[in-house]
Subunit: 198 residues, 4 copies
DNA sequence: CATGAATGAGTTTTCATTCAT
DNA sequence: TATGAATGAAAACTCATTCAT
């Protein structure tokens, strides 16, 4: 039997992406099997290869796409905002909202870099650095203008991103706190550590 | 032929632990093969089973041992320190020093919880909560005494630990900054966000 | 979308034959994949089936066609030549020239009989025997007439064909020797072993 | 179940070699499956890998071993024989006898060079050339001493080997002719074409 | 305590072929 | 005639684990 009645290539492709992301999230890249993926999608394992080129490419595409979209969305959010403090505020809010709504993508992005082949890893690492550099520049400009008192711009960048990204580890959409509250709390934690001593 | 000349049981066991940790760190639990482990140790795969009971048990033991030692060492570091601010300072320094010197253990601990079987995961998660609770209590007492202005004790706990633990992702012992400097920087970032507004 | 602009059925069929022969020559029948074939031709694998019925049939057709043409061409070359010695000379020259110019066909013919399904193999084997019988008869008549001293007609037939066909294994069109020289050399080797002792 | 009662590593290894050779002979390298091989040997497919490193290595080992043994045996056969004519006689007899008794090895050797990876192919091709060079030197010395009238030493070498090797294509141990007769016939065919014209 | 041979289930990937469009 | 999506079987190879020796 060739094409199943009602089958649709682009639907299948999307189903593969969705199930693939979920499985990598749940079991890790190495722990996820294409058999399982195929079964969830409802096709034979070999049929996956009409839509992906390789298991590795599936992961790579996820990570590249995630980082690309993330940075683009950040740039859009920051557009037109000038003062370093306001930009920092915007970054915090943007980063949290984006990460809270794409928890699987984020988790995979952070935990599966290791599973990329060296070439691919270099690409994704580069994209990450692009993103981090946005925050780094905000901190640097805030320091220059005297609006912020940053102990070490590079490290503060890493530390802030680590802190904000940490929410994906415990956030529960049905939990005690909503997005707005979480944002407010982190704003205080982050900005408080960066304000000039009066 | 049974035992190779010069072989030594406890040395072998230790070699398995060391190489096992490294391999899980590099490839992840699923991505690490007992064959590779055996080869590094210099024995046949089957011989591993004289020293471990199961691949899963190897991981589980790592995580339990790590968490147990970590919490014990924290308690020792905090012993005799009374004021919440001093206890917070101590926590920050302890956590950073411990994590900077055991980066592989820490990374494995954070990324491989997912690979534990449910029962085992529950155990390790419990141990983690024990550790986190130490910081939570410091923040709670600081709040009560008015020494700290913590927006949300639970979330601040997660956020601080995420921030401090983030160092294992980029720290380079041969890098620009030594441990002491890193500690000082993080102290400012963390404590600055928690001080009462004057 | 059905037919690509500029596509042409018979051109495609011919391209399939050409690329198919080359691929079987290079990788063997089992080692050649219809996917590769389709890619070389520039169509999708499924589209091959508008031109071939089966991978096996593709091979079978090659071999049948080759053997048929070979024998027909031999008969044409021998037409009108009467004396056994002259016919032997003609056979040697014909066989070498034909094989030197169709090296891929010949190689495939000799190495892929094994890959034919039994029925098909029987057909091709029969065609081969037809061809061999031409030489066998020349040797038999030469023996009868006293023009040749053949130790064993059957075996000499196999031996001569093996010897002459061997050229496809090493002949290089840009090499030291041209066709004419190769023919002359083999004529001496073959005929020398068959002349009556004076 | 680990080791089957009565299992024996070296017996298994030998069984793999024997069955492997047969399967490659029957189906070609590409057409032979390790599943089938394992089944014949009576073990699981994965267990093959306790004895071979790779399918390719299995083939490579066959070919290297065959060529090495062949050349060594030839050297032994030629030892002490001085006159070119006698050496040629010895070569013919040796080559035929060896090839008649190892028909599978020979066939595989001739048809599966193509299936070797380039590096491996280079090795085996080198070994083949070593063997051919033995005959080449006999013909060259025979020419120098005037005992032989060889039209072209290089080509005659190829032609003779092709002719003699051709026997593996049709020889039937239960057939009309025994080894001795086949040798006698080929001796006439070969030597007849090389004798000086009286 | 170690080896070497085995299991049985699993891995990713490839293949010839089919068929609705 | 061609495409693109599918099948179902198979490929080579890996894996954690077992156990007689």
């Amino acid at each position: 039997m060739a094409r199943k009645a009602g089958s649709d290539g682009s639907k299948t492709a999307e189903a593969i992406r969705a199930a693939g992301l979920r499985l990598i999230f749940e079991h890790g890249y190495e722990g996820m099997s294409l058999r399982d993926l195929a079964q969830i999608v409802g096709i034979q394992p070999g049929s996956l290869y009409n839509h992906i080129t390789t298991k590795q490419a599936l992961l790579f595409d996820f990570l590249v796409e995630h980082m690309t979209r993330l940075t683009e969305a950040l740039d859009a959010a920051l557009a037109g905002i000038e003062s370093p403090l306001a930009r920092l505020d915007t970054f915090i809010e943007f980063h949290l909202r984006y990460h809270l709504t794409r928890r699987m993508e984020v988790f995979v992005n952070n935990s599966e870099l290791r599973s990329l082949e060296p070439q691919n890893r270099a690409v994704v690492t580069g994209l990450r650095r692009d993103y981090e550099r946005r925050l780094e520049q905000i901190l640097a400009e805030g320091t220059r203008s005297g609006a912020l008192n940053v102990p070490d711009v590079t490290i503060a960048t890493f530390a802030i991103i680590a802190q904000l990204t940490g929410v994906v580890g415990w956030y529960d959409p049905k939990g005690r706190l909503g997005e707005d509250e979480i944002i407010a709390i982190h704003r205080q934690l982050v900005v408080g550590g960066l304000l000039p001593i009066p």
